[in-house]
């Protein structure tokens, strides 16, 4: 007797989220299968899955985007359901349709909803039509010939965005109208490559904005609830690096308004499964930004404060069950912070880094959602996110302290990471005071730059002592001669 109409779930993803999904599938008594490229053969998810099916392609990423191959892997695994994770094919309606057509349950919303929300312009118009706030904008396809002049009329600062995109890709801020056309061309080229769709729109860019998003959960019976907000304002190049809940920017009254707006938007779309409505917050005004029709990277902070396993809820909803939780069951308990560990060097303009994971030790007493193992190679083939550190504590101050301790205790040798930037943010007064916005890191370049000299002599001493030839030349010199040497130089 099965609790579900399927007993094997194929994971069409990789890295930490694939491992995270497997954990919940195990808890639910479901078998997990994963389609993987050989570049990931030594990753945690491949070793954890009950069944691992190799896929291949022109590049590792191309393999994970190959719909026919992924469905072939699902068939091979006799999977009755498929979890797309985030990124990759997770918001591709054509993929969701192909999965459903193959007789496999897609763990996510209906393809029509993915289509609606995936087209940023349609989504924006839909939200506006339903009476929710959106930022002033100009849409290219309304009249391509006048796009530049209409964009100019919106006024600077502007944000140029791809219609078919998401996740910060292809976006450009324009503060000087003379650079508008160049920004449009660059955004168009990136949009074409990332999304195969070169349509653009511009939106008024709100300075000193904060990024607030609301987790929602719906079922096939019209039940729809929210699981409070997440604040994701600490970003570099539109990529989130620290997320938390509750947001220090919301009063209880504003929290209610923004969470109810999210539920209203999701309800208007007859949303089923887990989703996230993103907003821009400026003072006490907020605008709809976009809706992500999938699990978010930062979902764990919501899980920590509500105690709800969001992936389990996704599986239940996809299996056609009625939501067992009502809005009054959802309580926010304490404060949670997530840190994203990236393979990149903030000190050198956030360039991606590569290397072999020579030593990996995670701190105790915190949640780690890891996509890497010792011995694994970190290549430029994938997104640079390696792992997430998630802490939960009674208050924001305690959570920040716990996160600071954890990120300093984490040892990853062999590839440079952003760990010391994370530690510097967690000790920064503006962050600790809750006074930050999405331009926080750009405004405080000292946080990314770090202090090169700090503790340098300890590193040099240690390297010298660990290097045979350096010790050997000391041992070859009699002590008195060595003492003379110090002032002979």
């Amino acid at each position: 007797m099965h609790k579900f109409p399927f007993n094997t779930v194929l994971i069409a993803n990789r890295g930490e989220i694939a491992a995270r999904i497997i954990k919940t599938l195990r808890k639910l008594g479901l078998r997990s299968a994963i389609a993987y490229h050989e570049a990931d053969a030594l990753s945690p998810a491949v070793s954890m899955a009950d069944l691992a099916i190799p896929i291949s392609g022109r590049s590792p990423i191309a393999s994970y985007l190959d719909i026919a191959q992924i469905i072939g892997a699902a068939r091979k695994a006799s999977a009755g359901a498929l979890h797309p994770g985030y990124g990759l094919l997770s918001e591709n309606a054509e993929f969701a349709r192909a999965v459903i057509k193959a007789g496999i349950t897609f763990i996510g919303p209906a393809p029509e909803i993915i289509d609606l929300m995936g087209d940023k312009i349609r989504a924006r118009n839909f939200v506006q039509r339903n009476g929710f706030p959106v930022a002033p904008c100009a849409i290219e396809e309304d009249d391509p010939a006048t796009f530049v002049s209409r964009a100019t009329a919106v006024g600077v600062p502007l944000l140029v965005k791809p219609s078919g995109g998401g996740g910060g890709k292809g976006m450009r801020i324009v503060r000087d109208l003379n650079t508008l056309e160049a920004a449009i061309e660059q955004a168009r080229s990136e949009a074409r490559r990332y999304f195969g769709d070169s349509r653009l729109y511009v939106e008024r860019y709100v300075e000193l904005q904060r990024h607030i998003e609301v987790q929602v959960l719906g079922d096939a019976f019209g039940n729809l609830i929210h699981l409070f907000e997440r604040e994701c304002s600490v970003q570099r190049r539109f990529q989130k690096i620290i997320e938390e809940t509750p947001s220090p920017a919301l009063s209880p009254e504003l929290r209610t308004r923004i969470c109810e707006a999210a539920v209203g938007i999701a309800r208007a779309a007859q949303y089923q499964n887990a989703g996230t409505v993103e907003f821009i917050l400026s003072e006490d005004e907020f605008y709809f930004l976009e809706m992500n029709t999938r699990l978010q990277v930062e979902h764990p902070v919501t899980e920590m404060i509500t105690g709800v396993d969001l992936i389990a809820e996704q599986v239940y909803a996809a299996a056609g069950r009625e939501l067992a939780l009502s809005q009054s069951d959802i309580a926010s308990n304490g404060h949670a912070i997530e840190l994203r560990l990236y393979a990149e060097a903030p000190e050198r303009g956030y360039v991606p880094t590569t290397g072999n994971v020579l030593l990996l030790e995670y701190p105790d007493g915190v949640r780690i959602d890891s996509g890497i193992m010792q011995g694994q190679r970190i290549t430029p083939a994938f997104d640079p996110m390696l792992a997430k550190i998630i802490v939960h504590a009674p208050t924001r101050a305690e959570a920040a302290l716990k996160a600071h301790r954890a990120v300093r205790e984490l040892v990853l040798l062999g590839c440079e990471t952003n760990a010391s930037l994370l530690a510097r943010i967690l000790a920064d007064e503006a962050f600790l005071g809750g006074q930050f916005h999405t331009g926080y890191l750009e405004e405080n370049p000292h946080l990314a730059a770090g202090n090169f000299a700090t503790g340098l002599s300890a590193f040099l001493a240690c390297a010298a002592l660990l290097t045979g030839p350096v010790r050997a030349s000391a041992n070859a010199v009699p002590e008195l001669h060595a003492a003379l040497g110090s002032w002979r130089n």
Binding site: R58, S59, G168, K169, G170, Q186, S189, E190, R193, R237, Q239, E347, R348, V351, P352, T353, T354, N356, L358, L359, E361, T379, P380, P384, V407, R408, V411, L412, L413, G414, E416, A419, S420, A423, F452, G455, L456, S457, A458, F459, L460, A461, C462, A463, A464, L465, L466, T467, P469, V470, R471, S473, A474, V477, E479, A482, A483, G485, S486, N489
Partner: protein
Amino acid sequence: MHHSFEIDGVDHRLWLSNSQQGYRLHLRDQVITPVAFTYHSESSGILTIAGESEPVRFAIEGELIHLHIRGRARILRYIDPLRTLAPANDGTRPLIARAPMPGVVVATTVSPGQSVSAGMALMTIESMKLETIIRSPQDGIVDRVHVKEGESFEHDAVLVTLSKEGR
């Protein structure tokens, strides 16, 4: 004898000498006594420096020494004293456009035999989410394009080599 370690592109010269409780560390502008290292395992130990004890995690990968001390990781490259004696660049070295970061080639805008001027675009690369244009470091003739469109490369990889014009 002096030794050199490079951190983030900066060379640090130093040497060790024996002292009673370990070694003296001679840096450019200071001497620290004593310094010592006690191994606990093949990847951990305790650094003693000027009376303080610091737990250390380390990994050695050829000339690279990866260290984690006081909550911070750094990579130091030991510069072999023999290699630093190698002849300096005499001008015959080909001109090379290197990768400033790991990534993928999006488009190549030049082909072998083509003459280019300093600052001209050679190729467009993409690293994670950003497009960057690789420009010619000098005037010259494209000798070879080393990475094809769609191929990936690591940091510092040779992307395009050029020869001097009229050579």
